[in-house]
């Protein structure tokens, strides 16, 4: 090693040339490189920065070995809140509840292996109901992937079919881009869940950050605007309809409150009847006389018969689900069908459609209203009056009628009273799955979108309680009620601890009939009343259970005491479980038995003997 005296002037002992005369990087490039080095963050920091740039304010998650660096970063900051759930399935449902009540993306963070596999039911639920969720899953370090490492699971392989898209991040440099893409894919087009799998070394390794504005997906371009020719043709068909109906679903709600307003505006402009799917409830005000109620298997008589007898059907953000159509070859045989949907694969999947319009419901409805007004369309008033007269006759059947009782609480009555006593506070309602869900859909009236959160496509028991947690987190001042059954409640009751921990005053209104009610109903109608494994012999004392969790428990057994109990429930500032002991033998009517067309509805207990369900129908359950 030479001495300083031997070095040329202007050089340091390390050999780096200094001084003006020697070449060096131009200042601008130097600043750029310096800025890039300064911007280098660890993977975990990048994730939190990306989440902040995406406007995320809350994460639902559960820690574990492979996501510890990320949890360490969460510990060091204050702008993103983390809600610790008690099971990863609960985290996804909570994020779904958050997403459905706000229109924003719900964000989940779980660990590798069992953390990821536990999230699968929630992801599938979000997939089926088109709910925007981004789920971060931990993964073993990249060099261990494929080695059957501890808590390793092939998460991208497992979730490929139950997500809209998924990513395994293999390079830190991709991390920021992938997260921004994930949010774009989850929230645009037909929304859905996106998984981002994060190997542990990626969380630790530094990389440059890329802001969302500099990320554009290579191939993903959902179609937003509808084809104007098709829209004009549709308006023409709608204007000349004699027996029209609007059949609208969750796509309207996903499109946003603006789309719901446009739907209401267009429906009132035409004077035509409208029915909503289970997923669509709230997209059109339930109090409007043009609303025929929910359609489908447990929908109203008037909605289903109007669907069967219409001559022009306008499907808006609805996908002709089998619970809606009943027997396909007998579904609305005389109707010209128009379908507005953002997802081309929703068209002609179950039911052939005469005029599809691919685009966002809100944009298409806006154009339809413009065309309608520009053409000064006037529907055939005589035909419409005739059509409404028929509908009113169907409506007069009062299909939701049930026999009241003074001694035992009828589940329908419990929901009706819940609705009447809470409606002024505009409650946000979640449900589990089964009879109580259908009764809630029939008897709770929704005037606005984003107030009704239910598992429609997948039918996930255990959805409602964690979902209500996500809803309450997003709406701290609102009344949030999970209308539940005791069997569904048992599936995710651990989340009660989450509600208690974060002082989330959710109300769980349990219609307790000791049965898996819908299973029992099917067994009664299809399997000769052999109630195989549908009765819960042992159930916890729900009041004591609530107390054990640090919540409040209430029980009501008599119809006369129901109102007081509901008022008491609302007055308590904290999570409440209400054990509503209801008639265990009550069935949910009206009902289209599976395999039957819309016009063969069972309206009540008296109908079930006269219209036995066919063997073919039994297969379709």
């Amino acid at each position: 090693m030479g001495t300083p005296a031997l070095l040329p002037s202007g050089t340091t002992p390390t050999g780096i040339v200094q001084g003006r005369s020697t070449p060096r990087a131009p200042p601008a490039l130097f600043e750029q490189v310096k800025a890039m080095v300064d911007q280098e963050k660890s993977g975990a920091e990048i994730i939190l920065k990306a989440l902040a740039d995406q406007g995320v304010d809350v994460l639902f998650g559960y820690p574990g070995g492979s996501v510890l660096p990320l949890y360490d970063e969460i510990f060091k900051q204050n702008h993103i809140r983390h809600i610790l759930v008690r099971h990863e399935q609960g985290a996804v449902h909570a994020a779904e509840g958050y997403a459905r009540s706000t229109g924003k993306v719900g964000v989940v963070l779980v660990t590798s292996g069992p953390g990821a596999t536990n999230a699968v039911t929630g992801l599938t639920d979000a997939m089926m109901d088109s709910i925007p969720v981004v789920c971060f899953t931990g993964q073993v370090p990249t060099h261990l992937i494929g080695n059957d490492a501890f808590q390793e699971a092939d998460t991208t392989g497992i979730t490929r079919q139950c997500t809209k898209h998924n990513y395994l991040v293999k390079k830190s440099e991709d991390l920021a881009r992938v997260i921004h893409e994930a949010f774009q894919v989850a929230s645009t087009g037909r929304p859905g869940p996106v998984v981002v799998d994060l190997p542990k070394d990626i969380l630790l390794r530094p990389a440059p950050y890329v802001p969302p504005t500099r990320v554009r997906h290579k191939s993903y371009r959902p179609q937003i605007k509808g084809d104007i020719k098709a829209i004009e043709e549709a308006v023409d068909l709608i204007a000349h309809a004699k027996r029209p109906i609007f059949y609208c679903g969750g796509g309207v709600i996903n499109s946003g409150p603006q789309a719901c307003q446009l739907l209401t505006q267009f429906t009132r402009l035409t004077g035509y009847p409208l029915t909503l799917t289970l997923m669509g409830l709230g997209a059109f005000p339930a109090s409007d006389p043009q609303f025929l109620g929910m359609l489908g298997m447990h929908g109203t008589y008037e909605a289903n018969l109007a669907m069967h007898n219409c001559d022009v059907m306008v499907a808006v953000g609805a996908r002709f689900d089998d619970r809606v159509t009943g027997r396909l070859d007998a579904f609305s045989p005389g109707a010209t069908k128009i379908q507005i949907d953002i997802d081309p694969s929703s068209v002609n999947k179950n039911v052939p459609v005469d005029l599809p319009i691919i685009g966002d419901v809100g944009h298409v409805l806006e154009d339809m209203i413009k065309v309608w007004k520009a053409r000064q369309c006037r529907p055939d008033q005589a035909a419409l009056a005739d059509w409404w007269k028929r509908i009113e006759e169907w409506r007069a059947r009062d299909c939701l009628h049930y026999e009241m009782s003074d001694t035992v609480i009828k589940p329908q009555y419990a929901i009706q009273r819940l609705y009447e006593l809470t409606r002024e506070r505009e409650p946000l309602i979640t449900t589990e799955v089964g009879q109580h869900q259908m009764w809630a859909a029939q008897f709770f009236k929704f005037e606005k979108p984003n107030q009704w959160m239910t598992s429609g496509g997948l039918g996930t028991m255990g959805y409602g309680l964690p979902a209500s947690i996500g809803v309450q987190v997003a709406h701290p001042g609102s009344l949030v009620v999970d209308i539940s059954g005791e069997a569904s409640f048992m599936m995710n009751l651990q989340e009660l601890a989450t509600a208690v921990q974060y002082r989330l005053p959710i109300k769980v209104f349990i219609l307790n009939n000791h049965y898996m009610g819908m299973v029992r109903q099917w067994q009664e109608l299809l399997h000769g009343g052999r109630y195989s494994e549908s009765y819960s012999e042992a159930l916890p004392d729900i009041v004591k259970l609530a107390e054990a969790f640090g919540a409040t428990g209430l029980r009501v057994e008599k119809p006369a005491e129901l109102d007081d109990t509901i008022r008491q429930m609302m007055a308590i500032d904290g999570p409440v479980l209400v054990d509503v002991r209801v008639d265990p033998s009550e069935n949910c009517f009206p009902m289209i038995p599976s395999g039957a067309p819309h016009y063969q509805m069972l309206l009540g207990p008296a109908d079930k003997e006269s219209q036995p369900i066919s063997k073919e129908g039994a297969i379709l359950v």
């Binding site: 991208t156 392989g157 490929r160 079919q161 809209k164 898209h165 998924n166 395994l168 293999k170 894919v185 037909r190 997906h217 290579k218 191939s219 993903y220 070859d329 579904f331 045989p333 005389g334 109707a335 010209t336 069908k337 997802d343 081309p344 694969s345 068209v347 002609n348 999947k349 039911v351 052939p352 459609v353 005469d354």
Partner: protein
């Protein structure tokens, strides 16, 4: 009349579909998972990178279904996030499709001579030979290869390897 009744009379047809995708991990699994998950047929599937700069691969698949199912298949493929373009070559105009097969035939005597003679008719090349076997390379439409294999059957057909169909539209325009 609505389309409902017409749909019932729809018949099964074979379609060659060309899908341009990002050449990224898992993309083929997405396509295959879509077919198995939704119960669609795959009669043939080939995939290779066709644009190294932009990392694009072309998947050529041959499937069979009613017009409604074929329409679903195309819509479902289009819905996959890494998919750039879905083209139904069967309906979008004339196209050429080719398949390559390597066919091993073992035998001696007259059968061996006969196999070589038929190979000549089919313009199959001999790419490997022993005293008691040939490996033929044949290129052509699926039907031609099927016919060649059928003729080799009694002559000592031992093994077959096929690439599956690669197809492209005729004319000067890219897909």
């Amino acid at each position: 009349m609505s389309k409902t009744t017409a749909a019932a009379e729809q018949e099964l047809a074979c379609h060659t579909i060309s899908v341009l995708v990002d050449n990224e991990a898992g993309v083929l699994a997405r396509v295959i998972g879509l077919f198995s998950g939704r119960g669609y047929n795959i009669e043939s599937l080939t995939v290779a990178e066709v644009n190294t700069q932009e990392h694009l691969s072309r998947i050529t698949l041959v499937t069979r279904g009613t017009p409604m199912v074929i329409e679903q298949i195309k819509a479902q493929l289009g819905r996959l996030v890494p998919v750039h373009k879905v083209s139904d070559l069967t309906v979008e105009g004339p196209h050429v499709s080719r398949e390559l097969a390597l066919i091993k035939v073992s035998g001696a005597g007259e059968k061996r001579v006969e196999s070589l003679r038929i190979a000549d008719i089919f313009r199959a090349r001999v790419v490997d030979s022993t005293n008691s076997s040939f490996v033929f390379e044949i290129v052509g439409k699926t039907e031609k290869i099927n016919a060649f294999i059928a003729l080799m059957e009694p002559l000592g057909l031992a093994d077959v390897a096929r690439t599956g169909v690669a197809a492209i539209a005729r004319g000067c325009d890219p897909l």
